[in-house]
């Protein structure tokens, strides 16, 4: 098969990602659970790659959690998102970069809705005008933050101080990649590789030296789901889905999990503790769990940033075993301290999920 034919076949799976000048919208929950991820993204884009990324302090939640939890009506969420577009338009930007996969799905869904039902877009424009006096332009390019890291993965590799290779064995690290459902399962054309062959995280792992694990439940949902989690009685469904994935991936002995969705990364990290407490089941070597990182955290580690500056101490499953494999030096005594040396408090050590010697030594 010739190259041009291949390109023709794969054209539906390509995604155009803008090169510069982004209007960045943050996630509600990432700043709590992965506090270093968004700040590293901005640092990478502005300081390392010299890109223009603009943030507006007036940007709010997209109300996606409330929308999927059935307490925010569709017209309301569309008007909130229209206001975000208005902020982007006022700032003179045409490319939107979205930190959260839930928001990314919401933006995609709204843009597709307006494409097929222009009368709804007209109604929302009127609502926004009446409520705030604002008007807006539709973004020319919509990208998830992981799309942008994917686009610049080679530039990151060029600046890499560490690779995803086990320094003790010389073998590539075995990485599980997990794509958020709302990234490309709803609107495949909005994701790199579509719903069938998502390449966004695979591309990063391979470029940075790691090996992707292809396990049976690779494309299974992490179980988060909004209605599953928001109601306590339903959380058993959520954790059972995560367990199905862990049971499936564990025989392949993954060194880490990388996720591009805030909910997936959070739940795949925290549920490992819950499952250990519930039935004593642990994953990974020596009952220490499988570390779960965001794509920004991985990029930061590869580029040689201090793990504690990236916020890795906030993870449930401790990351020291991964750092040791990558050959990254870290100071355990500074793990739970602020930059100016103040103690931020140490978490309790769980009963079943082990935290490893390096963590014990500092706790």
């Amino acid at each position: 098969m010739e190259n041009h034919s291949k390109k023709f076949i794969w054209r539906d799976y390509q995604k155009e990602i803008a090169d510069d000048h982004f209007f960045y919208v943050r996630s509600c929950i990432r700043q709590t659970f992965f506090p270093g991820s968004e700040s590293f993204f901005l640092r990478l884009m502005r300081d390392e790659l010299g890109k223009d990324v603009f943030e507006d302090a007036r940007h709010t939640t997209c109300t996606g959690i409330g929308f999927h939890g059935d307490i925010v009506p569709q017209d309301t969420i569309m008007t909130v998102v229209a206001r975000h577009f208005a902020l982007m338009t006022e700032a003179g930007y045409k490319n939107i970069a979205i930190s959260c996969v839930t928001s990314f799905g919401i933006y995609s869904e709204i843009l597709e809705t307006w494409k097929h039902f222009p009368e709804i877009e007209k109604r929302i424009r009127e609502s926004l005008k009446k409520a705030t006096g604002r008007t807006f332009e539709i973004p020319e390019n919509i990208a998830h933050a992981s799309d942008i890291i994917y686009k610049f993965r080679n530039e990151i590799a060029a600046k890499a101080k560490f690779t995803l290779i086990n320094k003790n064995t010389g073998a590539p690290l075995q990485i599980v990649e997990h794509i958020g459902c709302h990234y490309s399962k709803m609107f495949p054309e909005y994701g790199v590789g579509g719903a069938e062959f998502p390449q966004v995280l695979v591309g990063m792992i391979k470029t940075w030296g790691g090996k992707v694990i292809d396990y049976p439940e690779r494309r299974h949902c992490c179980g988060f789901g909004f209605r599953q989690y928001l109601i306590q009685a339903n959380r058993g469904y959520s954790v059972s889905n995560s367990k199905k994935k862990f049971d499936s991936m564990n025989p392949y002995q993954p060194d880490a999990i990388i996720a591009n969705c805030p909910g997936c990364a959070m739940f795949m990290d925290k549920w490992q503790y819950t499952i250990a407490e519930m039935e004593g089941t642990t994953y990974g070597k020596e009952d220490a769990g499988i570390p779960v990182l965001t794509y920004e955290e991985f990029a930061g580690l590869v580029m040689g940033y201090n793990p504690w500056d990236l916020g890795l101490q906030m993870h449930q499953v401790q990351v020291e075993p991964l750092l040791d494999k990558m050959g990254i030096a870290y100071d355990s005594s500074k793990k739970f301290k602020t930059k100016d040396g103040k103690d931020i408090g140490k978490p309790q050590v769980p009963e079943s999920l082990k935290v490893g010697n390096s963590v014990h030594s500092c706790c």
């Binding site: 059972s240 367990k243 819950t274």
Partner: protein, 123 residues
């Protein structure tokens, strides 16, 4: 406090066992034992004639076709209890269009359970 008790009080929800048929974990030893002793079972086309004519099936939920499915999948957890409902009348054998010796299948399963416990999944 046992793990289940801890589950309920501490979390307010619990893990659900999946309904996935996992051939890697299911116990296939009973299937292999039955087939080696009654190879005619492999001729079954799943028509359900055995179940339609079953005397025990008229009074209980005994179902030879379902039993056959579960046996072949290695899902043998409740099989021993189910066996007790069969009256061994043999009508299923009479109607079988493939000549499967269904009565001997039942006998063989009973014999197998008398020898060892097949209900536990393989580790």
């Amino acid at each position: 406090m046992d793990i289940a008790g801890k589950n309920k009080s501490q979390f307010g929800y619990s893990l659900t066992k999946g309904r996935q048929i996992d051939y890697d974990k299911n116990n296939m030893k009973l299937r292999d034992f039955v087939i080696s002793n009654e190879p005619s079972l492999l001729l079954c086309i799943g028509c359900g004639g055995c179940t339609a004519t079953c005397t025990a099936g008229g009074f209980t939920n005994f179902n030879f076709r379902k039993l056959h499915n579960l046996l072949m999948r290695g899902e043998t957890n409740n099989l021993e209890e189910s066996m007790k409902k069969c009256m061994l009348c043999g009508k299923c054998k009479l109607v079988c269009p493939r000549g499967v010796n269904t009565r001997n299948v039942i006998f063989t399963i009973k014999r197998a359970f008398a020898m060892t416990d097949f209900s536990k999944p393989l580790k």
